[in-house]
Amino acid sequence: AQTVTQSQPEMSVQEAETVTLSCTYDTSENNYYLFWYKQPPSRQMILVIRQEAYKQQNATENRFSVNFQKAAKSFSLKISDSQLGDTAMYFCAFIPPNTNAGKSTFGDGTTLTVKP
């Protein structure tokens, strides 16, 4: 079974600064998918960014980017120019390949507070 570890339960950052959230995972699979989701106080889960393990290039979505280190099984999320609206809980998720399709695993989350 896969495990996903988010070692930072809580983090804070000043508005306009940059923050990095860490995520490590354990798997014996070679092809898989990794996601970061955001859960603001409204409780609605929102996709932030997605990475395919077979792609070496790190995914980027506007102010959000990842540092994907496959050998180290690390998938960190960098938020640049932090905004107050980025305040939320962030979850890292591992999606296995077709052999176990559907058995997604989420980390326990990092609560990020952006301070004005």
């Binding site: 996903v4 988010q6 409780r43 889960m45 996709l47 559907g102 989420f106």
Partner: protein, 112 residues
């Protein structure tokens, strides 16, 4: 499109009661999922479905049952509710397993 809808939004159950949490999606997605989220924690997969008539257990299936008779609906049944089942329950759907999952607004369940 309504996306993923869940009913009810809130529910209080007494120990030993049963109930069904409803979930529906209008995106014609193949995959559907049920998660529970305990306070301050991540999502734990209860059951998932890869299509109508096909379901499988996730990480924490004990005390729950599911069925998927149509593409749109994926109800979660709680039998003999216990305080340990107090949680927020999320339903989600995706077209394929590696696509973005779209989540419903959640159901907050309290068992007293």
């Amino acid at each position: 499109n309504a996306g993923v809808t869940q009913t009810p939004k809130f529910r209080i159950l007494k120990i030993g009661q049963s109930m069904t949490l409803q979930c529906a999606q209008d995106m014609n997605h193949n995959y559907m999922y049920w998660y529970r989220q305990d306070p301050g924690m991540g999502l734990k997969l209860i059951y998932y479905s890869v299509g109508a008539g096909i379901t499988d257990k996730g990480e924490v299936p004990n005390g729950y049952n599911v069925s998927r008779s149509t593409t749109e609906d994926f109800p979660l049944r709680l039998e003999l509710a216990a305080p340990s089942q107090t949680s927020v329950y999320f339903c989600a759907s995706s077209q394929l397993s590696y696509n973005e999952q779209f989540f419903g607004p959640g159901t907050r369940l309290t068992v007293l």
